[in-house]
Amino acid sequence: MSVPLTYRSPTSDSPLMRLGLTAAGIGFIALFLFLPLVTVFTNALADGFSVALGALKDPDAQSSIALTLIVAAIAVPANAVFGIAAAWSVAKFDFRGKSVLATLIDLPFSVSPVVSGLVYVLIFGMQGWLGPWLRDHDIKIVFALPGIVLATMFVTFPFVARELIPLMADQGRDEEEAAVSLGASGFGTFLRVTLPNIKWGLLYGVLLCNARAMGEFGAVSVVSGHIRGLTNTMPLHVEVLYNDYQYTAAFAVASLLALLALVTLTLKSFLEWRYADEIAATHRH
C-alpha cells in the first residue's frame, strides 16, 4: 500500500467504504422513495397536461378537493387548540400522572388508521352504540362529514401537542411567572410571552398535522362510505378513479397531493434550518 497523500483521521471511514455506503444509501433512496414519486407525475402527464387538468376540473374531483379542505379546516385548528392546552398543562405544571397523560396523547400514533376509523363506526354506525338513536333523530355521522372529521381528528391528534410539550418544557416557566407577577392576565401572558416563544414550533406542528389531515386514507376510508361527489376526500377519490381503471385521472389527483407533500417537506426543512432553536430539540439534526 502506497503512502497516502492526505492524512486520514483514524475515526473516518476509508474512501472505498465511504463510496460504497454513499452509493448504497443514495441508491436505496432513489429506488424506494424517488422513483415512486416520479411515477406519480409521469403517469399524471402521460396523456398530456390538458388531460390531467381536465381530470382535476371534473365535478367529482372538485368536490373531493373542497371536502378535503373543509375537513382540514376543522380538524387542524381543533387539534392545534388542543395541542396548546395540553402543552400548557403538561409542560408548565407538575402533577401526578403527567407522564401517563403524555403517553396517552401519543396513543393515536400507534393505532392502525383502519382501527382509528373503526372505533367511530362502532359508536355511530348503524349497529353501533348510538346507531339506532341517531337514526331515529335523523342525524348522520358515519358516511357523512362529521365522521370524516372525527376520524381525521383521531389520526392527527398528537401532532401539535407532541411538538409543543417538549418545546415548552425546555423553555421553562420563568418568563411566564415574571409576567404574571407583574400583573399580566393569564391569557395576556400566553399571548404576549408564550406564543412568541412557541410560534415556529406551533407552525411546525400545524404543518405536519395538516399534511396528514389532507392525506389520510385508511381511517377516512372506513367512515366515508365512498359516496362520489359527497363523502369522497381527495385520497378516496384517487382510490375510486384507480379502481375504475381511470389511471391518468387517478394520478392527476394524486399528483396534486404529491405536490402538497413536496411543499410540506420544503417548509418543514426550512423551519428546521432557519428556526432550529425555536422548534423542539428532537428535530435538530
Partner: protein, 283 residues
C-alpha cells in the same frame, strides 16, 4: 423532582404554581382526549365480547384471518429488518459524510411521512406492475412483485424507512468520537472499531427505530392495498379484513381483529419503553 418532596403529605397531587390556567387547560385536555381517543377506543375493546370469549376466538382463528394477521406481522418484520440495514447506512451517510446534495437528500427521507399513503400505494403499484418501470425487468427475471406478498413488503419498506433514519441520526451525531479514537490508538482497525464500538453504541436507537418502523407497518393500509392485489389467503393484510368485515356488517368480527391489532401495538409500545429504560440504565 418528585411532588411528594415539596408538598406536605395529604391529597396534594400537584405542585403549587404561580401560573394560571391549570384547571382550564387540563380540563379541556382530558375532555378532548376522552372524547376523541379514549372513549372510542373503549368502544372497540368492549365490542368483541358480545360474541363471548369463544366467539372472539372463533373469529381470530378463522384461517383467512390468521393468514392476514400472519402476513401483516411477518411482512412488517421483514420490511423492518431491511429498513434497519439501509436506515443505518442512510443515517450514517447523512451524519458522517459530506457530499453534494446532502441537504436535499436529508429532507427527502421524510417523503413517506408527507406523501399520502394512497398516492404511495398507486405509485408503487404502477412501478411494480408487470409493465411498470421496475416490474418489467423483474418479471423478465421471473420475479413477481405486484399482487404478491413481496409487493406488500415493498410498500412496507417505503413507509418504514424514515422511522429508522430519524431515530438514528441524532444518536450518531451526539455520539462522541472519543471511544472511536481510543480504539484507534489501541490499534484496532476501522472495521473492528465499527463492529465493537460504534454498532453496540447505536444498538438501542437501532432497536427503537426498527420497532417504530414495524409498528407503523403492522397497521399500514393505504400504501399496501393497491400493490397487494388482496387475494384471500395469499396477499390479504389484517387491516383490509377489518374493512371487509365492516362491509358485511360484522361489527363484532371487525372489532375482534381490531382488538388483536391494538394489543399488538401495546406490546410494541411496552417493548419500546423497556428498550429506552435499558438504554438509559446502560449510560
Amino acid at each position: 423532582m418528585s411532588i411528594a418532596e415539596s408538598t406536605p403529605a395529604g391529597f396534594a397531587w400537584r405542585r403549587p404554581s404561580a401560573l394560571p390556567g391549570f384547571g382550564l387547560t387540563l380540563g379541556f385536555t382530558l375532555f378532548y382526549l376522552s372524547a376523541i381517543v379514549l372513549i372510542p377506543l373503549a368502544a372497540l375493546v368492549i365490542r368483541p365480547w358480545s360474541l363471548g370469549v369463544d366467539g372472539f376466538w372463533g373469529v381470530i382463528t378463522q384461517p383467512r384471518v390468521l393468514h392476514a394477521l400472519e402476513l401483516s406481522f411477518f411482512g412488517s418484520a421483514i420490511a423492518a429488518a431491511i429498513n434497519t440495514v439501509f436506515g443505518l447506512i442512510v443515517a450514517w451517510m447523512l451524519v458522517r459524510y459530506e457530499f453534494p446534495g446532502k441537504r436535499l437528500i436529508d429532507a427527502f427521507v421524510d417523503l413517506p411521512f408527507a406523501l399520502p399513503t394512497a398516492v404511495a400505494g398507486i405509485a408503487l403499484s404502477a412501478l411494480y406492475a408487470p409493465n411498470g418501470w421496475l416490474g418489467a425487468p423483474l418479471a423478465a427475471l421471473g420475479i413477481k412483485v405486484a399482487y404478491t406478498p413481496l409487493g406488500v413488503v415493498m410498500a412496507l419498506i417505503f413507509i418504514g424507512l424514515p422511522f429508522v433514519v430519524r431515530t438514528l441520526q441524532p444518536v450518531i451525531a451526539d455520539a462522541g468520537r472519543e471511544a472511536e479514537e481510543a480504539g484507534a490508538t489501541l490499534g484496532a482497525t476501522r472495521l473492528q472499531i465499527l463492529r465493537r464500538i460504534v454498532i453496540p453504541a447505536l444498538a438501542p436507537a437501532l432497536i427503537t427505530g426498527t420497532a417504530l418502523a414495524f409498528a407503523r407497518a403492522v397497521g399500514e393500509y393505504g400504501s399496501v392495498i393497491f400493490i397487494a392485489g388482496n387475494l384471500p389467503m395469499k396477499s390479504e393484510i389484517a387491516p383490509l379484513l377489518i374493512i371487509i368485515k365492516l362491509e358485511q356488517f360484522d361489527y363484532a368480527g371487525a372489532a375482534s381483529i381490531g382488538v388483536v391489532m391494538l394489543a399488538l401495538s401495546f406490546v410494541m409500545l411496552l417493548t419500546l419503553n423497556a428498550v429506552q429504560s435499558w438504554a438509559a440504565a446502560r449510560r
